[in-house]
């Protein structure tokens, strides 16, 4: 196996190769080339295999780019189960292309193929009429609805936490936004008839793991309270941005839980199970829980003392990102460039994005892009020019309709969830003449 970084020639290697070839004539021109290559190589370092113990300083995580079926090259976190991160440059538009949408599975046995002749969406448990819907039945028997909704992994940006916590070491790219089209979960539940006394609805997809039955390593199950208003917003989606879902994103249907972290958005959804007791499986009782504190904050000391009361993770706190310029190029002083990015909140629509160039003392409002509804990414942009040469740090902050604004304090909890600190954009302005 050759790591991409090993292919980069250093000046020393180039000169060594030259010496081996015995050529002295071309030395001066090659030396010039080598010197240029050396300058470049400071930007083209070998791909790091990890970051830490400090926080990850990159926008994305640090894995290599890889190709998975139906996918554009994405950043590899793990190959089995599959976890892939979306590169930064995809986030200047409101909708994330399906082929670039991040991937996060929990267990290793995920579908390579599904035969729709046999596949059914099953509604079972505490219902009066258990039901099984084929894909054509879902597409024809129910009203078709669409919702633009951001999907973000609970552990997005986990690699920012200090001290670092174990888990998927995501940068910022475990998120995406799509137009999801399908049928309302509520309609499906109504057809099956939820019996009185039911408490939760549990979702299961087609992934399984090698662990013993009954454990989290064998199956992945998530539940929502039937009294949770989000049930009325949920969609069982068979279209993603007007296309079938990639298998890695949950073909043939996926649960869409607008405003909520992606852990509830069951991929390859196959079982909808109404239950009359609290779901105590690993993925509800132990995994994906956050401290019952403001912003889900706690400390390693409190965790160690066992004094942290936790609740299942829910809605996504407001976030915003500056995507361009990305700092990979200098910007001439006085050149008016366009700062671009996206913002979203799981609580209400984003109504304000602001940029600060003085460390948060003063803020300038950015222009917001089209409004695709309260749960969607919303693009923002702002013309900006550097007045002085040197390093610049801009801050970007979003506020939603309920008044939730991004704070500038970090978050820490043992799961590495809920990071939404104000992001910073760093680049260098150069003299224009």
């Amino acid at each position: 196996m050759i790591l991409p970084g090993e292919r980069i020639f250093s000046r020393r290697k180039v000169l060594k190769l030259l010496g081996a070839a015995g050529g002295g004539v071309a030395l001066s021109s090659l030396t010039l080339q080598a010197s240029a290559a050396e300058q470049e190589s400071s930007a083209l370092k070998t791909i790091e295999s990890f970051t830490g113990p400090a926080d990850n300083s990159h926008w994305n995580s640090v894995g290599p780019y890889i190709s998975e079926p139906q996918k554009a090259p994405l950043i590899l976190l793990t190959d089995r189960p599959i976890q892939l991160e979306t590169p930064r440059h995809y986030f200047t538009s409101a909708f994330t292309p399906n082929e670039a949408f991040y991937v996060r599975w929990h267990l290793e046995n995920i579908p390579n193929a599904i035969d729709l002749k046999n596949w059914k969406l099953l509604v079972e448990g505490n219902v009066t009429k258990p039901a099984a819907f084929s894909l054509p039945e879902l597409m024809q028997k129910f009203e078709e609805v669409s919702v633009a909704a951001a999907n973000q992994c609970s552990g997005n940006s986990r690699s920012r936490l200090q001290p670092r916590v174990p888990g998927g070491q995501w940068g910022n790219g475990a998120m995406g936004n799509a137009l999801w089209t399908g049928v309302r979960l509520r309609q499906i539940l109504d057809v099956a008839g939820v019996k009185p006394g039911s408490t939760q609805v549990q979702f299961q997809g087609l992934e399984t793991g090698g662990g013993p039955k009954g454990l989290g390593s064998h199956e992945f199950l998530k539940s929502l309270d039937l009294t949770n208003p989000v049930i009325d917003d949920c969609v069982v989606a068979y279209l993603m941005n007007g296309e079938p879902l990639p298998l890695l994103n949950g073909f043939p249907v996926r649960l869409v839980v607008p405003g909520y972290f992606a852990t509830y958005w069951m991929k390859c959804l196959t079982w909808i199970r109404v239950v009359d007791k609290p779901d105590e499986n690993f993925w509800m009782k132990t995994g994906y829980r956050i401290p019952d504190t403001p912003r889900g904050n706690t400390t390693p000391e409190e965790v160690k003392a066992g004094t942290v009361k936790t609740v299942p993770i829910g809605r996504m706190p407001v976030r915003s990102f500056a995507i361009t310029p990305d700092g990979s190029a200098k910007i001439p002083v006085g050149m008016r460039v366009t700062l671009r990015g996206i913002a979203f909140s799981g609580y209400a629509r984003v109504v304000k994005v602001e940029v600060s160039e003085d460390g948060g003392k003063s803020w300038l409002a950015a222009k917001l892009g089209d409004d695709y509804g309260p749960y969607s990414f919303r693009t923002w942009e702002m013309p900006w020019s550097a007045k002085t040469a040197g390093k610049h740090t801009l801050m970007v902050r979003a506020t939603d309709e309920k008044g939730n604004a991004q704070p500038d304090e970090p978050v820490w909890n043992a799961g590495g969830y809920l990071w939404n600190r104000i992001e910073r954009l760093e680049f260098v302005a150069g003299n224009a003449a």
């Binding site: 050759i2 190709s67 190959d79 089995r80 399984t208 662990g211």
Partner: protein
């Protein structure tokens, strides 16, 4: 550089694959095969039939090179029964106690059932190569 995927591991993966297939008749799943990094493909248009099966090729595997040392073989063999050892290399350097906790979690919470002596060996290996004091690669 040679890749070391123990034959027993492949056989076991195959057995798990069959087991999972039996559970979901409509499902062909958990199919992976080794791949080369740096070999990025464009999205392809395979020769599809018009039947009701919707599938993709095997998912690629990119086994990382773990740090050489005592316990590496056991770590590769046992951890990779359920997940890629990229779950190890992806982590930031973690304190020795955290690796102990992780190995315990795999056994107790996830039922990995690794023999006690081997669990100890795996924990010592991870501590010897993947803590802030010891991590090199």
């Amino acid at each position: 550089m040679t890749r070391t995927v123990p034959a027993t591991l492949l056989a076991l993966s195959l057995a798990l694959l069959v087991a999972s297939g039996a559970r979901h008749a409509q499902l062909h799943s958990g199919n992976y095969q080794p791949a080369e990094l740096g070999n990025l493909q464009q999205i392809t248009q395979p020769e599809f039939s018009a039947d009701s099966t919707y599938g993709v090729p095997a998912y690629p595997l990119y086994p990382p090179e773990l740090a050489p040392g005592e316990g590496k073989q056991e770590t590769e063999a046992y951890c990779a029964l359920c997940h890629s050892t990229r779950y190890i290399t992806m982590q930031p350097p973690l304190p020795a106690a955290t690796w102990e906790t992780e190995v315990n979690k795999m056994n107790k919470t996830f039922g990995a059932n690794i023999p006690e002596a081997v669990s100890q060996k795996i924990a010592r290996y991870l501590q010897a190569h993947y803590t802030p004091e010891t991590r090199k690669q």
